[in-house]
Subunit: 198 residues, 2 copies
Amino acid sequence: MGEAAGTGRRSIGARRNPDSADAILDAAEAVLAEAGYSGFSIEAVARRARAGKPTIYRWWPSKAALLLDVYQRQKRVDVPDTGNLEDDLVGFLKNLFAHWRLTASGNVFRSLIAEAQSDSHAAAALAGYATGRRAHTGQVIERAKARGEVAPEVDAGIVADLIASYAWRHLLTNRLDEDKATLRTAVRYVISGISAKR
Amino acid sequence: MGEAAGTGRRSIGARRNPDSADAILDAAEAVLAEAGYSGFSIEAVARRARAGKPTIYRWWPSKAALLLDVYQRQKRVDVPDTGNLEDDLVGFLKNLFAHWRLTASGNVFRSLIAEAQSDSHAAAALAGYATGRRAHTGQVIERAKARGEVAPEVDAGIVADLIASYAWRHLLTNRLDEDKATLRTAVRYVISGISAKR
DNA sequence: TCGGTGAAACGATACGGCCCGTTCCGGGGC
DNA sequence: GCCCCGGAACGGGCCGTATCGTTTCACCGA
């Protein structure tokens, strides 16, 4: 999977032109930001990048691979570390929603999820990516566990899954402007069920 | 009489042919079940139903509307009423996942969500449908509230949202075969944060 | 009661347009 | 010279609309 999709080093013999690749990724991002998923086609990206379609197909085997590359080129949302689990998770959701709203990332990720529903390559790529992110988010819970804020037997993966699910659904249903109070309430419902003390 | 008990779309003078409509909906369901979302096109449905494309376009303004009609024709998943909130929610998720796995519903709903990412009509239809379902699921929490099992100030909508989000993400990432134990744990994390006592 | 009539839905076909994924070509930088 | 590039073109599929001729069915006057 990471085979042809990476922006980093390539296998021996393949001499990808960095200028061209960047122009294509820039164009893909711009098209997605302006026309959304429905307007996102290989031809549109090629036109925008003043590149040839074969150049795109040479380096990205599918629309999904291109989308994933675009998404991974974005800056990552940082997970706060305030010393308090509730604040960490609320802050994370708030940062994530803002990031999705204010950059092309939201559209890119929505498109990737949609693409994954009809393309098995996209599904596999998304599954791998989601696993990595879940582990990442799970660290917040692990930190809280280390602080004694969360019971040690709690499954951090499931908690991260609940939080990520909540974020996904808001992205997919255009509710990225959710009240901060609502976010806090949702987070509180989840984590007050896992706290060590009561 | 038995005249067009369909989806309530008819206006005066419109004489939709029930046979034709049923054939189209049957064909749409079959195409989705066999070819999935990527193979689902109006032309494919028309071929399968031995109907003309204009007939489909006459009664369904978009692919999304057709998908929604197909989905709503399916049997609904019943929400258990065991007298215990945790069992109700776990049972609901289990029923829902089984329903999505074993019938065409899962594919239909996945397709509808994907379509909503690129079509505003689909997004609107989906939002309306989701609102209705959320209220429906919220009744489970309200029942628990009436039993004194849940604190009265709890926002049933947010809890229903968390549960629905969890279900959506499992559908969209092909994890409908999740362990029952994991489901129970997830449900427990959510609802033990809203219980009235302890 | 009964047959005529016309509106409306039907299946089929065709159209221009867009996009897919591939192939071929000529130009140009290392 | 090599090999990657951009451009053009291809066959194929689907979209959404227009336009055929046909069939169905509610209405209504004889």
